[in-house]
């Protein structure tokens, strides 16, 4: 199995112990701390960062999304709210799969599933010059990362990293299949040593690209195998680990 999602961004969903504390919006984090996260309180005082899902107010922290509270102790500590969501909001540095919708002069317009189309300059590919343009058609798939992504400006994507190398980004091949899942599942799949991917890799060899905007591209040797992988990944959202193992066992038995 060759995994194209070579470079994972900073792992902020890391391996912290998952505290099953459900937070709902409009809950001050003072309450959450009182529920027994003693060490958490200590880390907060040390200036731990608070990431997605909470907004800083003068009076304290305000929870803005509903989900489970997660904590990563390493590197100063960070807290975030792990929520299930379908709609993607562009974040700088995220690797996503975009669909080319238009070519406007020197710039391609890509649909990334957010509220605005992203722009991608034709020079942002490895080895591209004014004479040597990349061969991109409308409807192609591109794997790139966000250079500029904030709420006030149109998001911009590039297919090279800061040193000019493509490191796995660029136009995705012609075959294979693209489908969409929820953002939570993507984060689970991108975690290091993800069980699902390991189990699937024992089934058939396949290529996989995971975009943080919920899009997954899969390519296996035959159409049938690709469809099986697609269905299993889509069902992973609602299947528990045992059900998944059973389904995979049945499939590998059938082979």
């Amino acid at each position: 199995m060759r995994r194209r999602a070579a470079r994972r961004p900073r792992p902020w969903w890391g391996s912290g112990a998952a505290r099953d504390l459900l937070l709902l919006p409009a809950q001050y984090d003072e309450d959450a701390e009182g529920d027994g996260c003693g060490s958490a309180r200590a880390e907060r005082r040390r200036g731990a960062a608070v990431r997605a899902g909470a907004a800083a107010l003068r009076a304290g922290l305000l929870v803005t999304k509903c989900g489970l509270l997660r904590h990563r102790p390493a590197g100063g500590g960070a807290f975030w709210v792990d929520s299930q969501q379908k709609r993607y909001v562009p974040v700088k540095g995220d690797h996503v799969i975009g669909i080319v919708t238009a070519k406007a002069g020197d710039v391609f317009r890509l649909d990334v599933g957010g509220s605005e189309p992203a722009s991608l300059s034709y020079l942002a590919f490895e080895g591209a010059t004014k004479r040597n343009r990349p061969n991109v058609q409308v409807g192609d798939l591109i794997y790139g990362q966000f250079l500029v992504a904030n709420k006030d400006m149109e998001p911009e994507m590039v297919c090279i990293d800061s040193s000019g190398k493509s490191s796995g980004m660029g136009i995705i091949g012609q075959d294979g299949f693209l489908f969409k899942v929820s953002l939570g599942l993507i984060r689970k799949l991108l975690a290091p040593k993800c069980e699902i991917i390991q189990e699937l890799s024992q089934l058939y060899p396949f290529e996989l690209v995971l975009g943080m905007n919920g899009r997954i591209w899969v390519k296996a040797k035959t159409v049938q195998q690709t469809l099986i992988i697609v269905n299993i990944l889509e069902a992973c959202e609602y299947m528990s680990a045992e059900q998944r193992k059973q389904a995979l066992a049945k499939l590998s038995g059938n082979r």
């Binding site: 919006p25 803005t64 509903c66 709609r87 509220s115 609602y238």
Partner: protein, 221 residues
């Protein structure tokens, strides 16, 4: 006038309600809310998505609410309810995080009688399900003032018709503030304050219900 109310048992009952989250595959946030047997509303939410140039706002998200009745075309009643819902939602959604986008909330009435409070609850659950940034949760509670002056929470259709006044409140989850209030019929100041206090008590139950249903959904992962 007010003394009669405290007599019975000092307790009012909310009808059983149930909800289902995430049952439509296309919308970003979707919820069904059923109150009692009859009133039920299905809410679907898309957002934040690209807004039309004529409708986009430079500093926050443009929220649009569409309420569709089961029979016939939407009329004046639906339009006024849409405005009330929109104002309530705008008060809680942190639109400043998504400027120049649009958030569309579509509510479909699934049964004959649609209480405004049912629409409010369905809207809040859809906002939760979609993962939009919220400053607070809200819930809708309806009170009926009976001719003898007693306060009845969550009235049925028949009780509504016999009541002297119907008051609907949208109550926020932070400090139980009132986000929206609308009344039909006449009542005195004291009666209104009593209904409000009763509604704030009922709001606690409804917020606990939100918490339990969301917990059930997240407990698997």
């Amino acid at each position: 006038m007010a003394a009669v109310m405290a007599v019975e048992s000092g307790q009012s009952r909310l009808r059983p309600f149930s909800c289902e989250l995430g049952l439509l595959s296309r919308p970003d946030g979707r919820a069904t809310f059923l109150q009692g047997v009859t009133p039920s509303v299905l809410a679907g939410l898309y957002g934040p998505v690209e807004a039309k140039i004529s409708k986009e706002l430079p500093d926050r998200a443009a929220l649009e609410v569409l309420l569709r009745p089961k029979v016939g075309l939407p009329g004046v009643l639906e339009r006024s309810r849409e405005q009330l819902l929109r104002q309530t939602c705008e008060a809680v959604v942190l639109g400043a995080l998504h400027p120049r986008t649009a958030i569309t909330l579509v509510l479909q009435v699934l049964s004959d009688a649609s209480l405004l409070s049912c629409c409010l609850n369905a809207a809040c659950m859809a906002l939760l399900d979609a993962g939009l940034p919220l400053a607070a949760l809200f819930c809708g509670v309806t009170c009926a003032l009976q001719p003898d002056g007693s306060v009845l929470l969550d009235p049925t259709a028949r009780q509504e018709q016999e009541a002297r006044a119907i008051l609907t409140f949208a109550i926020g989850s932070s400090e139980r503030k009132v986000l929206m209030a609308t009344t039909k019929g006449s009542c005195s100041v004291e009666e209104m304050q009593q209904c409000l206090a009763a509604a704030q008590g009922a709001a606690d139950t409804i917020f606990q219900f939100y918490r339990d249903s969301v917990r059930r959904r997240y407990c698997k992962s």
